[in-house]
């Protein structure tokens, strides 16, 4: 028996780890939980080349193969350029993250997953805009508060387009990040009767930029610890979470 107790210890630990992994896999939100409309666009953008002609509007809501069609999209390497084999195919599925700049110097990050897109623009001091929308066949269409609109295109390597807020109009270019790690973090909380809304962009070079709006007043965001997603704003610990593209939900 004594011989086996160390093995039992190891097996117990392994079993525990397996259970926790399973629970974690269920706890983590699925890669994308699109509403029927978004699902249709997702299935269209992720449709295999054999059926590229099906317009988004005709994709039936009960399209059973749709989840399996989008799942590989979520697990495939992000910025990998199309392999030489499918270079000629019309497939334009582009999942991933892009970071870049507006022509006014502000930083932009775009995250696309399964046809849903989220973007965040901030200058590190005052300006911050969250936008959500879709990326259908590489065409970005996102909206934000106060009529902010972002349009453009994403490809495997880069993204470019235009952001319109009221009368102002900026162009942006962004390049895909090499890693799949989240580039966008957001913290929303109520602390000490103050509303806090913070956004951060993790640049690929390891630096970050962010803005925290404290009771409607923007302040420069203190650095976010990328491992824990936490930071201290005015003495209060704030936890930010990676932003996952999802359906437009009053962002």
């Amino acid at each position: 028996m004594k011989r086996w107790t160390p093995m039992l210890t190891l097996l117990t630990g392994s079993g525990m780890a397996a259970v926790l992994f399973t629970m974690s896999a269920q706890a983590a939100p699925p890669a994308a939980q699109p509403d029927p409309g978004a699902a249709a666009t997702a299935s269209a953008s992720a449709a295999p080349p054999a059926a590229p002609a099906a317009p988004a509007g005709e994709a039936p809501a009960a399209d059973v193969p749709e989840p399996s069609a989008t799942r590989p999209a979520a697990t495939s390497p992000p910025a990998a350029p199309p392999g030489p084999g499918d270079a000629g195919t019309p497939e334009r599925r582009v999942d991933g993250n892009w970071t870049g700049r507006l022509d006014n110097g502000a930083t932009i990050a775009i995250s696309v997953e399964a046809g849903a897109a989220v973007a965040y623009v901030c200058d590190g001091t005052r300006l911050e805009i969250w936008l959500r929308g879709t990326a259908t066949d590489g065409d970005l269409a996102l909206t934000g508060k106060e009529g902010a609109r972002l349009t453009g295109t994403v490809e495997a390597g880069r993204a470019a387009g235009e952001l319109v807020v009221g009368e102002r109009r900026w162009r942006f270019t962004a390049t895909a990040t090499a890693e799949r790690a989240p580039v966008l973090y957001r913290a929303t909380a109520r602390v000490r009767d103050a509303g806090v809304d913070g956004g951060w962009i993790m640049r690929p070079d390891g630096t970050q930029i962010g803005v925290v709006t404290w009771n409607g007043e923007p302040v420069a965001a203190p650095p976010l610890d990328p491992a824990f997603g936490t930071t201290i704003v005015r003495g209060v610990r704030i936890t930010a979470e990676p932003v996952i593209p999802g359906p437009v939900a009053g962002g």
């Binding site: 525990m16 926790l20 390891g206 610890d225």
Partner: protein
């Protein structure tokens, strides 16, 4: 052969670390101090190395979700981890003390229950560390944002590999006398490194929260 007491190789054995003590502690498994050769450790070392590398590769290739199963009663997954890790570190200190007692290094204090205390504190420490590691690997992955996260990632993978090695080595007959102390010391050092680069860093950076 099984009657040998730990450290009791009076004749002919000139192992590097084993000091003969007048009253050896009651050894729990009493492996023969005469080594059957380094091959005894080959398989445990190999498996341990494979575990460490596998964890690292998984952590590096798996897409971090940022989210994993949470434990009630804490303000967030990071505080859970910080406290679980600290508890594991506490039991690890118990490991060190009970091991010292087992090997008679605490002077006259060498109770008969030191072996049982050592085994159980080790099991508890290991089982406390497993959820932390699962969260790290699943939600965060093998990170190299800076020296701290890199050291933490590498040491964390190394720790579980070393633990596997020790567990596999324990039941083997004919281990050299220094084997278990060295493995245990490596484990303790690795866990302390992991703890310093995570929990202690967290407490000193963000304060002590629940």
């Amino acid at each position: 052969m099984a009657e040998h007491r730990r450290g009791g190789a009076h004749a002919g054995y000139d192992g590097p670390a084993v000091q003969v003590l007048p009253e050896p502690a009651p050894a729990r498994s009493a492996p023969a101090p005469r080594a059957a050769g380094p091959t005894t450790l080959f398989v445990p070392l190999l498996v341990g190395a494979a575990v460490a590398v596998a964890l690292g590769v998984y952590g590096r290739t798996h897409t971090p979700t940022g989210i994993a199963v949470n434990v009630a009663g804490f303000s967030g997954p990071q505080t859970v981890k910080v406290w679980l890790g600290s508890a594991a570190a506490l039991f690890a200190v118990g490991q060190l003390l009970s091991a010292l007692a087992m090997w008679g290094r605490l002077g006259p204090f060498s109770p008969s229950w030191a072996g049982a205390a050592h085994r159980w504190s080790g099991r508890i420490a290991f089982l406390l560390a497993v959820p932390v590691a699962v969260h790290c690997l699943y939600a965060l992955g093998f990170a190299d944002h800076d020296l701290r996260t890199l050291a933490h990632s590498a040491l964390g993978c190394f720790f579980f590999g070393a633990f596997t090695t020790k567990m596999l080595a324990l039941p083997r007959p004919g281990l050299a006398g220094w084997t278990l102390p060295v493995l245990g010391g490596v484990l303790f050092t690795a866990l302390m490194g992991v703890w310093l680069t995570s929990s202690v860093w967290y407490f000193t950076t963000f304060g002590v929260h629940r």
